[in-house]
């Protein structure tokens, strides 16, 4: 049987629920781990598809495409560099980069 003391103990302010912390931490860590996991899988395909899309608009040398996935603490970046061939006057490098995930 519970004593009076137990009654007051059981009604004292509870610790903040920890389950929501669990969910948040899991979502963050898994977002990172999933990128790492699919890395080898999707980069070559991404490169292929990108080259195909860009090639529809400008002539490019498929060998001069660079894709880099950088995983950092708070942010990961996906950097895509495509060199455009052609005469020096119009030549240049189109650079684009996008944040892949937090």
């Amino acid at each position: 049987m519970m004593s009076w003391l137990d009654y007051f103990r059981s009604t004292r302010k509870p610790d903040p629920p920890s389950a929501s912390a669990a969910k948040e931490r899991l979502q963050i860590v898994l977002a990172h781990e999933r990128i790492g996991r699919t890395r080898e899988d999707f980069l070559p395909k991404l490169q292929q598809e990108l080259v195909a899309v860009v090639a529809r608009y400008v002539a490019i040398d498929p060998g001069k495409v660079n894709i880099n996935l950088d995983r950092g603490g708070d942010m990961s970046t996906l950097a895509i560099e495509i060199e455009l061939p052609g005469p020096p006057a119009t030549a240049g490098a189109a650079r684009t980069s996008a944040a892949a995930a937090r």
Binding site: M1, Y7, A19, K23, R25, V29, L30, R34, R37
Partner: protein
């Protein structure tokens, strides 16, 4: 052709063996010829949970090494018709299990059984990889707890990249989430991940939820798969999960916390009311 189902999780102690025993028994009870294979070489336990430990003569390694025929190693369950157990070796080391050897066993079993259940060891090393390699379907056993959820996510990645189906670029392994050791009271108090959270994070179809329940320990004490304890909530939850696996639409049960005791009961303990 038999369907090969792996019961896997990454993490140990989450309920894979409990689930393998219950599920295999449940499928056989439903008239499906089922064999359950213990892949935990060196840490054989399925035999105890199935209550056949005294009938083990040969094991999977004996069969692979040609020391026994498959039929000599298979233990026919005496309580449930159409159910057989292939025990793991207790003495050999894990390397005795080869992919070619397992392939041969699965092929031979395929002729006689509807379902081949593979009880995976923990981890993502050789034994676990071998247990999932031939799978057509996977039951991913997960506890509502951070390390278990993370490991389940990891094992899902492995299923998608290292299974035979993945390697042969066939249709991917069918995934089922089984949440076990779920405690609705702790969930209500915010101490345990909610079912919805686990579902949202892992994002695979839910096969069932097995509550944390004393009947599981009792069942293991006596070597009776918990699904045979038809009074128990865990047994009923496993029965439902088997039903869903076979295509039935059943509501998920045992997700609600116990009724809260009133103030009077809290003051005077369980004797009131």
């Amino acid at each position: 052709m038999a369907q090969v189902i792996v019961v896997t999780s990454g993490k140990g102690g989450v309920g894979k063996t409990t689930t393998s025993a219950a599920f295999a028994t449940g499928l056989a009870q439903r008239g499906k010829k089922t064999v359950v294979i213990d892949f935990d070489v060196g840490l054989r336990n399925l035999d105890l949970i199935m209550g056949v430990e005294r009938r083990v003569v040969f094991d999977i390694v004996n069969v692979i090494q040609g020391e026994a025929r498959l039929n000599q190693a298979l233990i026919r369950d005496k309580r449930t018709e159409g159910l057989a157990i292939l025990p793991a070796s207790q003495t050999r080391d894990k390397d005795a299990l080869t992919r070619e050897g397992v392939a041969g066993i699965i092929e031979e079993l395929s002729a006689d059984f509807d379902y081949i259940l593979c009880d995976s060891p923990a981890g993502i090393e050789k034994g676990a990889l071998l247990a999932l390699y031939f799978a057509d379907q996977a039951i991913v056993v997960t506890n509502p707890e951070v390390s278990s959820v993370r490991d389940s996510d990891r094992i899902l990645g492995v299923l998608q990249s290292k299974s035979r189906r993945a390697e042969e670029k066939r249709e991917k392994v069918k995934e089922h989430l089984l949440v076990t050791r779920y405690d609705p009271n702790r969930v209500e108090r915010g101490e345990m991940l909610k079912l919805e959270d686990v579902r949202e994070i892992l994002a695979i179809p839910l096969l069932g939820v097995v509550p944390e329940n004393e009947s599981v320990l009792r069942a293991s004490n006596t070597g009776t798969p918990v699904i045979m304890d038809t009074e128990s909530v865990a047994g009923q939850a496993y029965k439902d999960a088997v039903g869903r696996f076979l295509g039935e639409e059943l509501p998920h049960r045992f997700l609600e916390p116990d009724k809260k005791p009133g103030l009077f009961k809290r003051l005077f303990g369980g004797r009131a009311a």
